[in-house]
């Protein structure tokens, strides 16, 4: 196909950054991909997209993992009349061997457009563009090669995690193992949508949160520690010898004023009970400072993007939880199931768990899932006097009138 036919897209082949148009052209021997280029040129002319809502398509036994996609101009662009997406569950931390990638490419060459996203925002390897009749055979080939589909729709979405202990000294938990374990344990919730809406789990090994878990996961798992930051004073001296501004760039920027540096003795200290473990000093002097040894995770809930009730950042619900491979992460899994049960019973259609907590109140949520309120959950206590009491918190009346008491209790409940 002549390039002159797409003058607008041609402009996006220029410049130093890798061009997505060139990527599409690399696979344009595939007639679907060639026509996708034409459809995109048309969108650039019209300044609007040309895709319709998904229809119900999928593979046998699954309710998710495939996104139906159809163009609204099927007469003009028959090759992309159907152009569905398959979400392939990535290995933890997006580590691949070259052979695993080639296998994926071979399957997608056989069944689809040859276009992918490496990766989608949730974490899946996205295979972009195939027809309904290819879905099942493509899945069969994927499954045969050891790949499974990820989530879509109202289900547990594909969990994802950071690079973890495979390539990071800051990993307080084994994010890769935990991600793999949770994905496998909750396969049924991943593949068969049965929730009020989507539920995202993201796992970061430390507070740097490289997978943006607090910003965008319904359940955020963030590695942390409870004991002291490990300090190598010899390495501190090396930073000083190199002229590194330890006072200005590290100590002065500590949010809890927990670091001190003695320029004379070149000694660095941390007031550990007053450290909030934000990672700043460790990030700035990785050779000298290390995370503590008693590690676990902070669990947060409710993060989501804007629609419907505004964007939320996840809220702390468990300040510290040990996450042990040895007990198969039983405490965490148990908590997740209690959360799902409450959300499932109380959530409206398309209501994220954070929105449900906002609607019903955190106290309802905490009671339902059996978590004790602790100061680490809030920035500050409430400033208004509008709070509820549970019936058993009210002193019985002197008359001993059981009915009146119950009525008072019910009133408080409302």
């Amino acid at each position: 196909m002549s390039e002159k036919k797409r003058p607008l897209l041609e402009e996006l082949k220029k410049g130093p950054w890798p061009s997505f148009v060139k990527e599409m052209e690399k696979s344009a021997h595939n007639s679907k991909t060639a026509e996708l280029l034409d459809l995109l040129e048309r969108s650039y002319e019209d300044k609007t997209g040309h895709w319709k809502h998904g229809g119900i398509v999928g593979v046998t036994g699954y309710g998710g993992g495939v996104i139906g996609r159809y163009t609204d101009l099927p007469e003009e662009f028959p090759e992309v009349r159907e152009f569905h997406t398959m979400r392939v569950n990535q290995p933890s931390g997006w580590y691949y061997t070259s052979d695993a990638l080639r296998t994926l490419c071979d399957i997608w060459e056989k069944h689809g457009s040859g276009l992918t996203n490496m990766h989608g925002a949730t974490g899946d390897a996205i295979l972009l563009g195939t027809t309904t009749e290819h879905l099942q055979p493509c899945f069969n080939d994927l499954s045969e090669a050891g790949f499974d589909l990820g989530g879509s729709g109202s289900n547990m979405r594909t969990p994802s995690c950071c690079a973890g202990p495979a390539r990071c000294q800051n990993a307080c938990i084994d994010t890769l193992d935990l991600c793999h374990n949770l994905t496998n344990t909750f396969q049924d919730y991943l593949h068969r949508p049965s929730f009020p809406y989507k539920f995202k789990i993201k796992i970061s090994g430390c507070a740097n949160d490289c997978v943006a878990s607090i910003a965008r996961a319904d359940l955020s798992i963030i590695g942390t520690w409870r004991d002291a930051i490990r300090i190598d004073q010899e390495a501190v001296k090396e930073y000083a010898a190199q002229g590194y501004d330890i006072q200005g760039l590290v100590v002065d920027k500590c949010p809890s004023q927990a670091c001190t540096y003695n320029a004379e003795t070149q000694e660095f200290t941390v007031d550990n009970p007053n450290c909030v473990r934000c990672m700043h000093c460790i990030n700035k002097m990785p050779k000298a400072l290390r995370i503590g040894k008693e590690t676990g995770a902070t669990i947060l809930i409710g993060g989501k993007a804007t629609i419907v009730q505004s964007a939320f950042l996840s809220w702390v619900i468990v300040p510290f939880m040990k996450l042990e491979k040895e007990d198969d992460y039983a405490e965490l899994k148990d908590l997740i199931e209690r959360i799902w049960e409450w959300w499932d019973e109380n959530g409206k259609v398309r209501e994220r768990v954070g929105e449900l907590i906002y609607r019903k109140g955190m106290r309802e949520f905490l009671k339902a899932v059996g978590l004790p309120p602790v100061p680490q959950m809030v920035k500050h206590p409430r400033a208004n006097p509008y709070f509820f009491w549970w019936p058993d918190e009210i002193i019985s009346s002197a008359s001993g009138d059981a009915e009146a008491e119950a009525a008072a209790g019910a009133e408080v409940e409302k």
């Binding site: 990527e23 650039y44 300044k47 276009l115 934000c278």
Partner: protein, 359 residues
């Protein structure tokens, strides 16, 4: 060609086992990494407790990748990193090398093929973004096109790690915001500015009316029993497009009025301060394909004022926190409008309640 499957596929096998993907050097030093160093933009060195050294070479990608490119990555991995590589959450590819002699030849080959190496430390990282007109039904703008135009313009910053701090720019093509776009140093997002056009017959035939009504964050949608459809209160609608997501007959695309809003000062990490939302800087720039010139100029300006004025170590939001929003608008030479003052459900705590401010 495809054929009817003869045998039942295995389901629920789970993802490939990550451990099988790891190079020997990682298996030997799993959980034993001691520290890392930034060798140069795009190259990291991780050192383990027993002295082993792992080198990472990071290259940017446009996220939309042909299998032709992925096979090239695989070949490069075979040649230089024992067949081992990974991807990052921001669409970079990372080669995991145990032999430092392979670093420069790998970089040379990557650059020669047009895959730029950079994006680590105090660099501009790759723009995380969404699907846009390539594949999404609800996109208010394209994603890959504007991202390409912005990255072309800011390319030098992907290759240099002497910015005041790291710079993360994110892009979403509608308010559904796939990705952590709302917590970025600079975020741009496709928006609509006009109310949906209702196809009554389509709503009656194809949509669950209670769901359509419930989808509206401002309660702007009412039943229209006569038409077995719905009505939109134009004064209440703020064009989020959520009704369109649940009902295709509430068409909200408007090629003339759709465009891009730009937010600044958000972050994801907990370092120093907690994660924070990005805040509105520019309510609208028009959609101007193919290269979104107004958007590119606006973002360049937002980056330059930070690079010029921020102190070492200050992320975008920390810089604004120090100078104050009033100074930010002055420095950015941007008009402050009624659009910048929140009037959605959590607006009140965003109003200034002190006499402490600057002129």
């Amino acid at each position: 060609m495809c054929s009817v499957p003869v045998k039942k596929p295995k389901t629920d096998i789970g993802p490939p086992y990550y451990y099988d993907m790891l190079p020997e050097i990682i298996k030997e030093n799993y959980g034993k990494w001691k520290y890392h160093e930034k060798i140069k933009p795009g190259v990291l060195k991780h050192v383990s407790e027993n002295g082993a050294e792992l080198y990472t070479v990071r290259a940017g990608s446009p996220r939309l990748l042909s299998i032709v490119t992925i096979r090239e990555y695989a070949d490069l991995a075979d040649k230089y990193s024992g067949g081992h590589l990974r991807f990052t959450s921001r669409h970079n590819v990372e080669f995991l090398l145990s032999d430092p002699a392979n670093i420069e030849p790998l970089i040379a080959e990557l650059e020669a093929k047009g895959y730029p190496v950079g994006g680590t430390g105090d660099c501009l990282n790759n723009i995380i973004h969404t699907q846009g007109w390539i594949h999404c039904h609800s996109a208010a703008t394209d994603a890959s096109g504007p991202v390409k135009a912005v990255m072309d313009d800011l390319f030098e910053y992907f290759k240099k790690d002497d910015l005041p701090a790291k710079l993360k720019i994110s892009m979403a093509c509608c308010l559904n915001m796939c990705g952590a776009v709302h917590c970025s140093d600079i975020a741009f997002v496709g928006i609509h500015r006009t109310v949906p056009t209702i196809d009554d017959a389509g709503v009656a035939k194809g949509c669950e009316i209670p769901n359509v009504i419930a989808s509206c964050p401002t309660g702007a949608i009412r039943p229209n029993p006569k038409a077995k459809s719905v009505m939109v209160n134009e004064e209440k609608c703020m064009y989020c497009g959520n009704c369109y997501t649940v009902c295709p007959s509430m068409k909200i695309m408007d090629p003339v009025n759709d465009g891009v809003a730009i937010f600044v000062g958000g972050k994801v990490s907990n370092a120093r301060s907690g994660p924070a939302f990005s805040r509105l800087a520019i309510p609208w720039v028009p959609n101007t394909p193919p290269r979104w010139d107004e958007l590119v100029v606006a973002i360049r300006n937002l980056v330059e004022i930070w690079v010029k004025d921020a102190r070492k170590g200050e992320r975008y939001g920390e810089w604004i926190e120090r100078i104050g929003w009033e100074k930010f608008f002055e420095m950015a030479n941007l008009p402050f409008t009624d659009k910048h003052i929140d009037d959605f459900i959590f607006s009140v705590p965003t109003f200034r309640t002190t006499t402490n401010f600057k002129y």
